[in-house]
């Protein structure tokens, strides 16, 4: 039997979709028994986690120190819980999970697998290396396997009306005080979240300026889409860095991805190749983005964008 412990990601009192994707991944292990650990200041998120289909139990760890997710603070109690007979400890391969899980693995004295994209068996997994240019199959012979789950590779697990039981636990691990949260600034506003949006429109360097980049928002509003950017557009100052899509930014898998004026550097393609439908609009017919686009339109984006907007 696989006993999997998943650490929940949440912010502002809401569970992240990444958690239900980890559940989907965990459910592919043989005979899974899935437990979610929720570190928070109260029990609200734990109740939400209990409604994810396939979850056997939710552990609620409530403390003022967990008002913000700090790896240094979360790792000792999470490692303590993991030692109680679990076979796997999973977290999402988001900045939250990437920050936390290696710290947990080191405390548990086990290696960590990053970014698992497929489950082959209880101990065997596939993961991307070289920015997705190669896929490796790895096996770990450890009593406890710690991993981050590439969220773009797994659908969210469904919801269930029959909520799993929530158990309040109080680990004895001493929480360090050497790391203090100051603030987080999210320039995104009330647009759909880039990481979980069903539709994403991204702009590249060809937009030419921050003002022109704003053109994307009008189209995004029509489609109910989130807005992303290539690294070139971010580096040129057209868009803030939290919009960056690609291996070094956000790896996403929307239903529809529209790349506008993006040539398609390898690291960008790696971040979008799990999208259901990829549309590319670019005036260079030789641009690498057309090699992976389902629908390509060779043309001047400044002409195509208003036309497209008028049609929607």
């Amino acid at each position: 039997m696989s006993r999997i412990l998943i650490v929940a990601e949440h912010a502002n009192g809401k569970l992240s979709h990444a958690t239900a994707r980890c559940v989907r991944c965990a459910s592919q292990l043989p005979q899974p028994e899935i437990t979610i650990a929720v570190f928070a200041t109260d029990g609200a998120v734990a109740l939400e986690a209990a409604k994810i289909e396939g979850v056997a139990k939710v552990l609620n760890i409530s403390a003022p120190a967990h008002a913000h997710a700090l790896a240094a603070t979360l790792a000792p109690p999470l490692a303590e819980i993991a030692r109680a007979g679990y076979t796997h400890v999973f977290g999402p391969s988001t900045t939250f999970g990437k920050d936390l899980m290696p710290r947990v693995a080191a405390l548990l004295d086990v290696p960590q697998l990053s970014d698992i994209m497929a489950v082959e068996s209880e101990r065997r997994f596939r993961r991307p290396v070289y920015a997705g240019n190669a896929i490796i199959t790895v096996e770990v012979d450890e009593p406890l396997i710690v991993a981050t789950v590439r969220v773009a590779s797994f659908q969210t697990a469904g919801a269930t009306a029959a909520a799993a039981p929530v158990e309040v636990v109080t680990p004895s691990a001493v929480l360090p005080t050497h790391t203090r949260f100051v603030e987080v600034s999210a320039p995104g506003g009330d647009r759909p979240d880039l990481q979980s949006a069903a539709r994403v429109i991204s702009g590249g360097r060809a937009l030419g300026s921050a003002e022109n980049f704003q053109l994307l928002y009008k189209l995004a509003d029509k489609l109910g889409a989130a807005v992303g950017a290539s690294r070139a557009a971010v580096d040129s100052g057209f868009a803030p860095n939290d919009l960056q899509v690609g291996q070094t930014g956000k790896i996403i898998a929307p239903e529809l991805y529209i790349a506008i004026g993006i040539s398609g550097a390898i690291q960008h393609l790696t971040g979008i190749k799990d999208a259901r439908t990829i549309v590319a609009i670019n005036k260079d017919s030789e641009a690498p983005i057309f090699e992976i686009a389902d629908i390509g339109l060779v043309g001047d984006l400044f002409k195509v964008l208003p036309e497209l907007e008028a049609l929607l």
Binding site: A106, V129, N133, T248, F290, I292, I295, G296, E307
Partner: protein, 250 residues
């Protein structure tokens, strides 16, 4: 002495398009160009800037790997590091082992800050800094895009999915760097000549009392699956029609 330890890794250069070997045993590495991992280069640049501002007195750069890695250490010395440590091994170093080796060096060098890239662009693990911080029982600030060093603490801006997060960490601490922290300097020829005279010490893993265990077994390396060739449309109207045909638009 106020010291910064920078860990660097030798990797296949950013611009090389790696090819998977047909027999599935790995990627083709014959004759490829090697460089300092770009994120580690950013870490080194930041350490040098801190020193130039008077925030540190010495920058020590370290790497683990075969003898060839000394080329990257010399580059780091040419960029401005004061001395280099080379832990020589032909073995593959897993992140947990790298963290153990770093911990031993941290105990010797007593740095106020350990700086390293958030991940290496070959194995894309993104683990070593966090693991070192855990073993050392010190703070970590990953994905740094801004770093201000004070006497006893550092204020770090982190690039997180939600935007930018600010943390205060007590020193000593581990900071891993993201792309936008800085733009590394170019090395000038006179610096390369000078770097040849800078100290570079070589030591073996067992001198540090660390056993090189391999716990993750690599079974197979494959090329990623490719997407089916798509269609081309000529106008916005055709694009909308195609999207409707695919059921993406209502």
């Amino acid at each position: 002495m106020k010291r910064i330890l920078v860990a660097i890794k030798r990797v296949v250069d950013y611009n090389v398009r790696v090819r998977v070997k047909p027999d599935g045993s790995g990627v083709a590495l014959d004759g490829v160009k090697w460089s300092i991992n770009p994120f580690d280069e950013i870490a080194l640049e930041e350490a040098l800037r801190i020193k130039e501002r008077g925030g540190a007195e010495e920058v020590v750069v370290v790497t683990f790997g075969p003898a060839d890695c000394q080329a990257q250490l010399r580059t780091a010395l040419a960029m401005g590091a004061d001395r280099a440590l080379h832990v020589e091994t032909g073995e593959i170093i897993e992140p947990l082992v790298a963290a153990r080796l770093l911990l031993k060096l941290v105990e010797r060098e007593a740095p106020l800050l350990v700086l390293l890239g958030k991940q290496a662009i070959d194995d894309d693990n993104n683990q070593t800094g966090q693991m070192l911080a855990a073993l050392w029982n010190r703070p970590q600030a990953t994905f740094a895009s801004k770093l201000e060093l004070n006497d006893t603490s550092a204020r770090v801006a982190r690039e997180v999915d939600a935007g930018t997060e600010i943390l205060d960490v007590e020193l000593p601490a581990v900071v891993t760097t993201d792309l936008r922290l800085n733009e590394p300097r170019y090395v000038k020829l006179p610096e390369i000549m000078k770097a040849k005279k800078k100290p570079l010490a070589t030591l073996k893993p067992d001198e540090l009392g660390v056993t090189l265990t391999k716990r993750v077994k690599l079974l197979k390396t494959e090329a990623p699956s490719t997407r089916q060739k798509g269609i081309k449309v000529a106008t916005a109207a055709e694009l909308v029609t195609a999207l409707k045909q695919r059921g993406v638009l209502a």
